[in-house]
Amino acid sequence: MSEQRGFSIFKKSEEIGTLVLSAWRVFTEGAGLFLETLYWIFIGPFKGKSVDFKALFQQMVFMGYESVKIVFFVTFFTGIVLAMQSAHQLSKMGGTIYVASLVTISLCRELGPVLTALVLAGRIGASITAEIGSMKVNEQIEALDTMGINPVRYLVVPKFLALLFMLPILTVLGDASGMLGGYMIGVYNLKINAGLYVQTAFKFLTIKDIYTGLSKSLVFAIIITMVGVYQGLKTNGGAVGVGRATTISVVVSFIMIILADCVMTGIYFFVKM
């Protein structure tokens, strides 16, 4: 009896051991991939391997311009919901006017960056994994390697830089369209004077709110690209494998975005800057 227990505890700890080991492996591989990306961005140009600007531009159009509509859609309606929800609460305290600043600040600090990042994780993270994953299973990554073309430099760097540029811009757009949604409710439904609404909206907004949000979106951009690329390069097992990798990529991105958001909000909350 006790022997059996001992055995099962032993087995459990062995399982935990392998889990820790594989988590550690994922961490080191991911970190290695990130460092390699940084190497090709900062050191590569000095070795005559500068960033491919045409590919960068194409990626920026694909990731940025083509995401505008969906980002607008998601944040605009979130702004509306946020305004309606907070109006409900604030009206009880007779402070309906503060809907304006509440909407603005929650969007800039929190919802704008997070929602935009989640939308992009679904749209761009998935497509990065699917593209690189199908290149992996079709020997194309290996082909690049045999041609002496580093896959990280050729494939990853343009995506990495493009999202790093575009996600903050999309976030600002998301903030703005969310505010527009709030404005619609505030002015047309709650009958707040338009000038007063705008004034109140920006009254309490500080520079810190803006850079808090934008610094988050930079971190989210790194998460989305690196998770997408990592899962793509790990893909095996044909078309089924590509599908599986894409799903994992999106789920992992979502979780990591939320966790990173929590950590960064905590840092900004506890550390006075």
């Binding site: 290149m135 020997e139 290996e142 045999t146 041609m147 002496g148 073309i149 050729y154």
Partner: protein
């Protein structure tokens, strides 16, 4: 016996294990400059793995590959990249980048490794496409081509940088007999006209005896025999004989 400067690539005591399972065991042979060297053997016996190890794409578990007498495992980083640029590889699945046109695929290695003007690169790519008979298809995307055309485009890309060695993984698998013969002729032409050394993995016996100067037979991860095409054809080894003839009866057991 060939003298050592005639030997472009030699492999010594190559072993490869995947997850503890041995795929290649103590394989050693030499490839001579300017020959068509064929590696044949049953499915799963480790031919592709051998080719990848020779091309430097996969490291062996133990053993060494020498290119012009230089130990490949000893060169790292940029020096290694430089050497690998002297190799070309044609993949079983062609492995063209599917968002680039045929011409862009062929130009890619030239564009990445040289500073030539775009129109010169284009002319170079066109020349290679002419060689493989795809001159009219420069602007096509890979999925607009047939399997055989894709394979030829992959071949054009493999020779884009005028490599010294071209590795072919089953260049004729899945092609009709005529296209098959065309590809074989192409390999012969490239080898003779461009003075390339060709290392070809194939299952196709007709191809083997059409193109091979020398043949290596792998069996269950081991090197069974190396010899000229003539020697292999007339070998007394029952496994090789069964393989060449495609007999069901014999020492090769299907399990």
């Amino acid at each position: 016996m060939a003298n050592s400067s005639d030997i472009i690539l030699s492999v010594r005591q190559i072993e490869k294990t995947y997850h503890g399972r041995r795929v290649l065991e103590n394989v050693s042979f030499d490839v001579r400059r300017g020959e068509v060297f064929v590696i044949m053997g049953g499915s799963g016996c480790g031919k592709s793995t051998m080719l990848r190890i020779m091309a430097g794409g996969v490291p062996p578990t133990s053993g060494k590959v020498f290119f012009n007498g230089q130990d490949m495992s000893a060169v790292k980083g940029e020096a290694r990249e430089k050497i690998r640029r002297r190799f070309g590889m044609s993949f079983q699945s062609a492995a063209l980048l599917d968002y680039l046109t045929v011409e862009e695929n062929v130009s890619l290695p030239i564009k990445e490794h040289t500073r030539l003007a775009a129109n010169i690169i284009s002319i170079m790519a066109q020349t290679k496409l002419n060689l493989v008979g795809l001159q009219g298809f420069a602007k096509f995307l890979p999925d607009e081509l047939s399997g055989g055309m894709r394979k030829r485009a992959g071949l054009a890309r493999a020779i884009a940088m005028d490599p010294e060695i071209v590795f072919y993984d089953e260049p004729t698998a899945g092609l009709d007999p005529v296209v098959c013969a065309v590809v074989d002729q192409l390999i012969l032409d490239l080898t003779k006209k461009l003075q390339i050394t060709s290392i070809v993995v194939t299952h196709n016996m007709e191809s083997v005896f059409r193109i091979a100067d020398r043949v290596a037979m792998l069996y269950q991860g081991r090197l069974l025999q190396v010899g000229t095409a003539e020697e292999i054809k007339n070998t007394a080894d029952p496994v090789v004989q069964q393989f060449i003839r495609g007999n069901i009866e014999g020492p090769i057991q299907m399990s």
